[in-house]
């Protein structure tokens, strides 16, 4: 038992000190609602959009409601207790669920139905509010000591509300218009993105685990392998794509079988190779450390009880290492989701296509159409795998 276990842990509800984090977050949210543009309006997708304040977008009743809800969060956090934290969580979820309706109201007020090209953009105030609400959720989860499973549930139900609003009533929104103009492309790009990430991560799980096992068996391999993987990690992603271009093109030209398999200097192949190369370090490092860190006493006990080497590996070492290995998969996957966006530059497809097309056309809404789903994908994977790792620690072993 360490000294830390002996120290008294701060208990909820005992301290009457206000929760400074939540109070300042709620003040910032108020400032964002009152001071920043909530939305923007443009006559079509090319012209500069003009910002609109919250007061003009949703009228004074809307602003009043928003302000009251935000003040409620701050007020509840001013006198923290378990009940008040739960109430604050409820209010934060309510605000998140009401936000798309704010956009609907704004669209109704601001968009002239006579102008079919007119569109509603999401403004700085709106983004800031969204971001800070997420921070509030994190803080509340920590204070209430909720398991990772709960935010997943909360966020997916809020996501459902957003999805319903977006598909039924938010046709004025620029993001939705961009989506409608190329919905098939979008779905295909999203699938490509997910496919590329899954294949790359699957390969790196297999290769990474094998490599980690080899490194445990042959200690000499360990140093050189880690040096190589570290080196790979330092190459900028664009440079790696460039470096792969020439040799792969040469291979495709000179080895017909590879060309038939679809290998070429640009496209999926170099993207996959680069993704796997980047994924290997976190994968191998976590797997190796996870397997090595299992307590020697536990392993000795396993031998002393008469477990064979294979039983010891499969029943003791691996299950105890699994949560940390999964952490490696989580880091790898989140990283690969982001990197795949860059892979669009060498024609690998995926959601990055919209980002680069949008940048080329100076259409920020199109950039968002690519960037937002990537962000959401990364968050979903992060939360999902995090929750899975938690489930795999039986009895809450840490």
């Amino acid at each position: 038992m360490s000294l830390l276990d002996a120290l008294p842990t701060p208990r909820l509800g005992r301290g009457k000190h206000p929760n400074v984090v939540l109070v300042s977050l709620s003040v910032t949210m108020l400032a964002a609602v009152w001071g920043l543009d909530a939305v923007s309006v443009a006559a079509n997708r090319i012209v500069q959009a003009t910002g609109v304040s919250a007061m003009d977008a949703i009228g004074w009743p809307g602003v009043l409601l928003a302000s009251l809800l935000i003040i409620a969060v701050g007020g509840l956090a001013y006198q923290p207790s378990r009940t008040n934290y739960w109430a604050a969580l409820g209010v934060v979820v309510l605000i998140l669920a009401l936000m798309p309706f704010g956009l609907m109201v704004a669209g109704h007020f601001l968009i002239d139905p006579e102008l079919p090209q007119a569109r509603l953009g999401i403004g700085a105030g709106y983004w800031v509010l969204l971001f800070i609400l997420m921070l509030c959720l994190i803080e509340l989860r920590l204070k209430l000591a909720l398991r990772r499973f709960w935010p997943v549930v909360i966020l997916s139900s809020i996501g459902l509300v957003w999805w319903l609003c977006a598909s039924l009533w938010l046709s004025d929104l620029a993001l939705i218009q961009e989506f409608k103009a190329r919905d098939r492309q979008f779905i295909q790009a999203a699938l490509e993105h997910i496919l590329l990430v899954s294949v790359a991560v699957s390969i790196s799980i297999v290769v990474g685990t094998l490599l980690a096992l080899l490194m445990r068996r042959f200690v000499k391999l360990q140093k050189s392998a880690f040096a190589l993987l570290n080196f790979l990690q330092t190459i900028p992603s664009l440079a790696l794509f460039g470096l792969l271009l020439a040799p792969l093109a040469w291979l495709a030209a000179n080895v017909p079988i590879l060309a038939q398999l679809g290998v070429s200097g640009i496209g999926n192949t170099p993207a996959l190779i680069a993704l796997v190369a980047y994924s290997l370090l976190p994968m191998v490092r976590n797997t190796y450390i996870a397997l090595e860190e299992v307590s020697p006493d536990t392993l000795e006990a396993a031998s002393a009880m008469g477990m064979r080497a294979s039983q010891r590996f499969w029943q003791v070492r691996l299950p105890l290492a699994l949560p940390i290995m999964l952490e490696g998969v989580r880091i790898t996957t989140v990283q690969a989701i982001g990197l795949t966006a860059v892979a669009a530059l060498i024609g690998a497809g995926g959601l990055g296509t919209f980002i680069f097309q949008g940048l080329g056309q100076a259409a920020m809404d199109m950039v968002l159409l690519g960037a937002l789903p990537i962000l959401i994908l990364a968050l979903v994977v992060d939360a999902g795998l995090g929750a899975l790792a938690e489930v795999l620690r039986p009895g809450g072993v840490r």
Partner: protein, 321 residues
């Protein structure tokens, strides 16, 4: 029956255990005592082949231990360590059932055995079967450790400082429980400890080790009466040796029949230790105690003067011999 002859273990140039001879009879409790690094744990681990020895022979039930498959050998030897070595991802019940499961017992047999052991070690099944090791106190975890070691009913039990990490009160409680378990089960136990009191309390056979050698071995009483050298004497507590020895003898072995005087008003049960009797005399400022049986009926008398005289006589007879 475990027999070690000329057993040696070298790690590189270091000799951890140097040509020791040791016989542990079936059903006996043998304690290996010594300062850290004296080779006592190494000796223990050579018996279940967690460490392979460099030289010498270890015979188990008449057969050299090489004749056994190490895995099968370990399944018939219970093993308990200080840090418990419980599997943190398994419940208490699953931890205890490990060896029977390795031996492919049927599920019902395992369940019945786990239940039996948990009751034997004072762990209520409903309360503890589904707990994980990190939810247990140190004493509870070590009970599970002992239960796991006993699961397949091995004849031999190896224990490496099993109570070393526990607080004094829990340690003494578990020592008492182990003593009463041993009185019922009669396992052949090899017990490593650096706590001489623990060894004196539990062991039938005491082995003092130093620098990989056995300095002296014998019954606890024999060692207390005739320590071979100043090292053994200091391990046995130096000046406190007399009290430790007194702790190993019963009041009834020293009492005399009741004299003509009135029995003392201070009473002590006959199966208490002499040490407890001396302590009582000091506390109550008396040099005489009335010895009583379990029904509190006086059956004899214990006098300080007589105890001292007996000790003098013993010493004298020793000199003559």
């Amino acid at each position: 029956m475990i027999e070690l002859s000329q057993v040696t273990k070298r790690f590189g140039d270091e000799t951890a255990v140097n040509a020791i001879d040791l016989k542990i009879a079936k059903g006996k409790f043998c304690a290996l005592v010594g300062t850290s690094g004296c080779g006592k744990s190494t000796t223990l681990r050579m018996i279940n082949r967690l460490i392979e020895r460099s030289d010498g022979d270890i015979i188990l039930d008449g057969q050299a231990i090489e004749a056994y498959d190490p895995v099968k050998l370990r399944r018939r030897i219970g093993y308990v360590i200080q840090s418990t070595g419980l599997f943190p991802h398994w419940t208490v019940a699953r931890n205890i059932g490990l060896v029977p499961r390795l031996l492919k017992w049927s599920a019902e047999d395992i369940q019945a055995r786990v239940k039996e052991l948990m009751e034997l070690l004072g762990l209520p099944v409903e309360e503890f079967a589904h707990k994980y090791p990190h939810q247990l106190s140190g004493g509870q975890a070590q009970r599970v450790g002992v239960a796991r070691a006993l699961a397949a009913d091995p004849d031999i039990l190896l224990m490496d400082e099993p109570f070393g990490a526990l607080d004094p009160i829990t340690r003494i409680k578990l020592q008492d429980e182990l003593a009463s378990l041993q009185a019922r089960l009669h396992k052949t136990v090899v017990f490593v400890t650096h706590d001489m009191d623990e060894a004196l309390k539990l062991a039938d056979h005491l082995v003092v080790m130093r620098d990989g050698l056995i300095v002296q071995q014998g019954t606890p009483l024999a060692l207390l009466q005739h320590p071979k050298d100043p090292f053994v004497e200091s391990l046995l507590g130096g000046l406190e040796r007399g009290l430790k020895q007194a702790a190993l003898t019963r009041v009834k072995d020293h009492m005399s029949s009741m004299g003509p005087t009135l029995p003392s008003q201070y009473r002590i049960p006959a199966d208490f230790s002499l040490r407890q009797a001396l302590s009582m005399m000091l506390r109550d400022h008396t040099d005489r105690l009335a010895v009583v049986d379990q029904h509190d009926v006086p059956i004899g008398e214990l006098s300080l003067r007589k105890i001292v005289k007996e000790a003098q006589l013993e010493k004298g007879s020793m000199r003559e011999a």
